[in-house]
Symmetry: C2
Subunit: 321 residues, 2 copies
C-alpha cells in the first residue's frame, strides 16, 4: 500500500518538536519535549519513541509511515549524524538517523534546520514548483538552505549553506560565538539587531529614541521592534542599517546561484516594509543588471509554529525510495 504519512522531528537546543504530517503539510498530531534534559542520547530517544508511538498509533500505525525526517543543529545529511553541535549536551558525533531507524524500523533522513526549512518551502510552502531558490532564516541566528536544479545543495561533506557566516563587512563586528569579524549573522540576527541598537544609542546621542528610557539589559529585538513600529527614529535607523547589510549579502547570493526567489523566514521579517524596503533597495543596487528586478523576495508561507516540524517532515518525502 502507499504510505501517506511521514514523521517530522525538529531538535532544537531547548525543545524537540515532532509530528505526523500528510502530503499537503497538514500536521495530524504533534508534541514536544525538552531536549537538554537528557545527558545520554539513548534516554532522549527512549522518551521520544514513547511519545511518537502514541501519535503514530493515533494516525493509523507504523504501516502508514513512509519515513522520518529530522532537522537538527549540525545535522549531516550524508552520514545521518549530528556532528559536534555546540548547543546540545551530546558531544562529538551522534549517529541519530541510524538510532532512529533501529527504533522505528523506517528510513530516516537528517539535515540541519535551515536546510529542512528550505525543503518545507519546496514541498508545502512559497517555493512549490520552483527549482532554484534560497531560504534565509532570520532568528536568534541566520541560517540558510539553498536549492538549485531542484535539489538541496549539501556540498561534498553535507555542510553547505552556511550563509549566515559569510563575511559581509571585512574586519567588522565580532561574532559572539565564532569570533569571526563581520559575518552576516553578527548583524542580521536578533542578537545582531540588539547589538546595532546598543551601538547606535552610544554613538548617535542626537537621535531621539524611546529606547533611551530602557536600561541596556532591557534592550532586545522585541523592544526595538515595538519602538520602530511606533516610528522611533533610532529604532528605524537600526532596521535600515540591518536591511542594507542583508540586502548587500543577498545580492552576492543572487550572483552565486541566480535563484528565482529568496524566501525570508523568522522574527526579523515581522518588521515588514521597515526592513524589506532597504533589503530590496540594496539587493537591487548591488546585483549586475542581468539580475535586476528579477528575483522575488518572499516571506515564508509556513506558520512559524509549524515550520520546524514541516521542514523536517519534508525531508522524508524527498527520500529516494
Amino acid at each position: 500500500m502507499s504510505q501517506q504519512l511521514v514523521v517530522g522531528i525538529d531538535i532544537g537546543g531547548t525543545n524537540t518538536k515532532f509530528g505526523v504530517v500528510d502530503r499537503r503539510g497538514n500536521i495530524l498530531c504533534d508534541g514536544r519535549m525538552l531536549t537538554n534534559q537528557y545527558e545520554d542520547v539513548n534516554d532522549f530517544l527512549d522518551e521520544l519513541h514513547q511519545h511518537l508511538s502514541v501519535l503514530i498509533e493515533q494516525a493509523g500505525g507504523m504501516e502508514n509511515i513512509k519515513g522520518i525526517g529530522v532537522g537538527a543543529p549540525n545535522g549531516n545529511y550524508y552520514t545521518g549524524n549530528i556532528e559536534y553541535a555546540p548547543n546540545l549536551r551530546w558531544k562529538g558525533i551522534v549517529p541519530l538517523a541510524s538510532l532512529l531507524e533501529q527504533k522505528f524500523g523506517v528510513p530516516t533522513v537528517l539535515t540541519n534546520d535551515a536546510n529542512a526549512a528550505a525543503l518545507g518551502e519546496l514541498i508545502y510552502g512559497a517555493a512549490r514548483g520552483m527549482k532554484d531558490f534560497i531560504v534565509i532564516t532570520l532568528g536568534t541566528g541566520v541560517g540558510s538552505g539553498i536549492v538549485a536544479n531542484g535539489q538541496l545543495i549539501y556540498g561534498h561533506d553535507g555542510f553547505a549553506g552556511e550563509l549566515g557566516h559569510c563575511i559581509v563587512i571585512p574586519d567588522g563586528r565580532p561574532h559572539p560565538g565564532t569570533g569571526a569579524l563581520g559575518s552576516l549573522e553578527a548583524y542580521a540576527s536578533a542578537t545582531g539587531v540588539t547589538a546595532s541598537a546598543l551601538e547606535f544609542l552610544a554613538t548617535r546621542p542626537d537621535t531621539p529614541s524611546i529606547l533611551r528610557e530602557h536600561s541596556k539589559e532591557e534592550i532586545n529585538s522585541k523592544v526595538i521592534y515595538e519602538a520602530a513600529m511606533k516610528g522611533d527614529p533610532l529604532a528605524t535607523e537600526v532596521y535600515e542599517f540591518t536591511g542594507k547589510i542583508l540586502g548587500e549579502a543577498l545580492a552576492n547570493f543572487v550572483m552565486f546561484s541566480s535563484p528565482e526567489a529568496i524566501i525570508l523566514f523568522g522574527g526579523l521579517t515581522k518588521a515588514g516594509d521597515l526592513i524589506m524596503k532597504p533589503v530590496r533597495e540594496h539587493m537591487e543596487k548591488n546585483v549586475l543588471p542581468i539580475f535586476q528586478n528579477k528575483v522575488k523576495l518572499l516571506f515564508s508561507e509556513l506558520k512559524e509554529s509549524d515550520a520546524a516540524i514541516l521542514g523536517a517532515s519534508a525531508l522524508a518525502w524527498e527520500m529516494k525510495d
Copy 2:
C-alpha cells in the same frame, strides 16, 4: 554507431577558437578566426561553417560528431542565446545554438566561458570524479563556474555563477565596467592587480620598487608579475593584498556550496605561492571550523591554450541524449 567526437567552439571578444575533441580531451584538429570582423552574425557563421567543415571532414565526417558545445560571453544555457554581450558586435539576443544546429544538423549547447571551463575540469581536468567544486578564472576579468550535486548550477535564468561581481569590499574600488563598488573583479583580475599597484605606488612612497622606473602607462599585470618574481617589495605587497581579498571571497563561496575543491585558472595563478599563500591563509581564517583544512585549492589541469575549446566541447558530452 557510437559517436566518439564532439566539437568545441569558444567565442571570445577578439578570437573564436574551435576544434574537434575526443572523450579524453585530445584535440584532434583545431583552428581560429577573428570574431568581431563580422557585423552580421550570419556572415560569421558562414565562415565558421566553412572552417569547421574542413576539420570535421579530417576527423571522419559529421557521422562521428555527437554534438557541438559553445562557450560565449553572456551565453544562456537554457535558451541557447547570446544575450546582450557587451564585448560582441552582435547586439541584443542572438539565437546562436539554434543557428548552429541548422547549419550542422547536430544538437548544440551553449553557456558562458567560465561555466564551460568548469565542465572542462569535470570531464577532462582536475575535477574528474568530483561532484562539488568551483572553478574561478582569473584573467582580464574574474569568472566562475559552480558544480554542485554533480551538476553545473545555471540558476533559474541561466546566469548563475557571476562570482567575480560579488561585492567583497563594501563601498570599495569602482569596477571600470559595471560601476559597482568593491566587486571581486575590481581586485582579483589583471586589471585589478594593475590598479592595486598604481594605488600602492602613490600611497606607499617609502616602499622601494623597481616599478617606480616605469611610467604609469607601462604598469600592467605582466610587469608587476616580473617584478614580484625578482622579490620586489611593492609588487610582493600587491600579490599579498590581492591574495587576501581573493582568499576572503573564497571563504564565502565555501560557506555557500561547501565544495571539495576550488580550482583556479588563468594569468594570476602563474605567481604560484606568492598569491596562493595569502589566498589559502585568508580563506582558512574566514571559514567556520567545520570547513577548515578541508577544501582543496587546485590549479587547472588544462593547458591554457586548449582550455577554451576543451571547456566548450565538454558541454556536448554533458548533453542529455
